[in-house]
């Protein structure tokens, strides 16, 4: 559990972060979203003490971060940033193994961990281990950056716009990968972004920052359905709201008995995908399948009714 307690950062006479208090549960992804200058990055950087708070404190599993020297604290907290920040003069293996090496792990253990992480990120260890960052594509560099942050199995992983430098297709894949790996490892992740779409897609919880203040901290569904302030509503975008909401709900929630024509969709797909399929192919319902077997259908009318619940 990460407890952020009344955290404040003042630069001269500007307040970058203004008395923020929030609690992050272990094993979840929390996305901090806001515009430039909202204080979201400063908030994140105060957690691993790249910035020292003016007042307030952060506790990780009950222990204050002020109790440890900053560089020792940072070895326990993973850190991944936009533009990956890999060491260009070190191989992929040395980059990923950087923190375990600082922590004094044995060579064999580091090597095994590097291979494990490369496999986890769908990169063949034998092919990538001894390459240099300059020899990788942008998406691969980004994955190595996240692998480095995860290498020592940190209590917490901080990510500052980690997908900001990627093109939309690679970004979507990277987000899916992160989600899958986070579920698999049970990591606790705090991620900063300016992109509400990314926040809704990735977050178990979403924290919206504006002018240094935490204006709403809630589940993605709540943020969309009940924005706490006009600013949050603007971030979500009025036109996008119904679609964003539908994107959070899996087909399995609305599945009903009955037949439908056309290609089946997996039960884990979102209502937004089903809506798009209905509109695009002119169908009034789509079949739903699970593990290869058709389990029923989702109708256009049901999707519409679900969206209207929040109207």
């Amino acid at each position: 559990m990460i407890e952020i307690d009344d955290l404040t950062k003042i630069y001269g006479d500007a307040t970058a972060v203004d008395h923020v208090t929030m609690t992050v549960e272990t094993g979840t992804i929390t996305v901090i979203v806001g515009t430039s200058g909202s204080g979201k990055t400063t908030l994140l950087r105060m957690i691993n003490r790249l910035e020292e708070p003016t007042s307030g404190e952060v506790r990780i599993n009950g222990e204050s971060t002020l109790a440890t020297k900053p560089h020792l604290l940072r070895r326990r907290i993973g850190y991944a940033i936009q533009g990956h920040g890999l060491f260009p003069h070190h191989t992929v293996a040395r980059n990923i193994g950087a923190v375990p090496q600082l922590l004094g792990w044995e060579r064999d253990k580091i090597r095994a961990r590097v291979d494990e992480l490369l496999s986890l990120f769908s990169m063949e260890p034998a092919a990538f281990r001894s390459r240099y960052p300059a020899e990788l594509s942008g998406g691969q560099q980004q994955r190595v950056g996240v692998a480095r942050a995860l290498a020592s199995r940190p209590d917490l992983l901080l990510m500052d716009e980690p997908f900001g430098a990627l093109d939309p297709i690679i970004r979507a894949r990277a987000q899916d990968d992160l989600r899958r790996i986070q579920r698999q490892l049970g990591s606790t992740i705090m991620l900063v972004t300016h992109d509400m779409e990314e926040a809704i897609r990735l977050g178990d919880m979403v924290a919206v920052m504006d002018g240094g203040k935490l204006v709403q901290y809630a589940t993605p569904a709540e943020i969309i359905a009940e924005p706490a302030t006009p600013f949050v509503a603007e971030m979500v975008g009025d036109v996008e709201r119904p679609l964003r909401l539908l994107s959070l709900i899996p087909l399995s929630e609305l599945v009903e008995d009955g037949e439908a024509e056309g290609a089946a969709m997996p039960a884990g797909a979102s209502l937004r995908d089903a809506l798009a399929a209905c509109l695009w192919t002119g169908r009034s319902a789509v079949p739903v399948e699970k593990d290869g077997a058709t389990i029923g259908r989702v109708t256009f009318a049901a999707i519409r009714a679900r969206a209207e619940l929040h109207a």
């Binding site: 691993n48 790249l50 560089h71 020792l72 604290l73 940072r74 070895r75 326990r76 850190y79 940033i81 936009q82 533009g83 990956h84 920040g85 890999l86 060491f87 260009p88 003069h89 191989t91 950087a98 923190v99 600082l102 240099y132 960052p133 300059a134 020899e135 950056g145 480095r148 942050a149 901080l158």
Partner: protein
């Protein structure tokens, strides 16, 4: 590249021959020597002059590298940032002083011999190394430096594992410039009795013997070209090896 593979060994052989078997070149230089004067410099062996010349350059450059890099590291830390303009001024002054003036000023203090030459070469070598190192250390990729802090490297680890290795190539370029300047400048050292290849050139100038001047000049020139080339190769190899090209 193809030119280099032929030219490089040819120049090395020419240099070796000039230093080790100068008598082979007697027919070539003979027309340039005054009537009845010796064609080939024989007052001391060209090999020992060359070694002493290179030794002076190596010692001066090593000292200049040590001081310039240490100074550059100091002024790029937060604690030393205030000294950056001052240290720039000092190293620039080293460069603006004519080497002859340094020799003239150093002789009364250090006496004749290698001492004043070392001082002049050292002062001359500081600037390129210092400037290049400062530039390299202040233009490191920001994301890499941020990540280095973020994953928990302390100041020393950041300097030794990230900053200096990444700055190495640009530093080497500065060292290369210093070495080449020093190779040429060292010849002047012979005016105050330092044992360098300048001895041959000065002997030629004093006796109007163009053969000597050409001999000394050719050897110094070939050393400069070949050492410059070797350092360029070293930089290219390092760039490939560290993936920073």
């Amino acid at each position: 590249m193809k030119v280099g593979t032929i030219l490089r060994p040819a120049l090395v052989l020419l240099l070796l021959a000039l230093v080790l078997r100068p008598e082979w070149f007697a027919p070539v230089f003979a027309p340039l020597a005054p009537q009845g004067a010796p064609v080939i410099y024989e007052r001391s062996s060209l090999l020992s002059l060359s070694l002493s010349h290179l030794g002076l350059v190596a010692a001066a450059t090593a000292a200049a590298t040590l001081i310039a890099v240490a100074l550059a590291i100091f002024v790029t830390r937060p604690a030393g940032a205030a000294f950056r303009p001052l240290s720039r001024t000092i190293t620039n002054m080293g460069q603006t002083f004519p080497p002859v003036a340094v020799l003239a000023l150093a002789v009364p203090v250090l006496g004749f011999g290698a001492g004043p030459t070392l001082v002049a070469l050292f002062l001359y070598g500081l600037l390129p190394i210092f400037e290049n190192t400062v530039t390299a250390l202040t233009t490191l990729p920001p994301a890499t430096m941020e990540a280095a802090r973020g994953i928990g490297l302390n100041r020393w680890q950041r300097l030794l594992r990230v900053e200096l290795p990444l700055a190495l190539l640009v530093m080497l370029t500065g060292i290369r410039l210093s070495v080449v300047i020093a190779l040429g400048t060292a010849t002047i050292g012979s005016t105050v009795a330092a044992r360098t290849l300048g001895e041959v050139i000065i002997a030629g100038l004093l006796t109007n013997n163009t053969a000597f001047v050409l001999q000394g000049g050719l050897i110094v020139g070939l050393f400069a070209v070949l050492i410059y080339d070797a350092l360029v190769q070293l930089e290219a190899w390092l760039a490939r090896r560290t993936g920073t090209s």
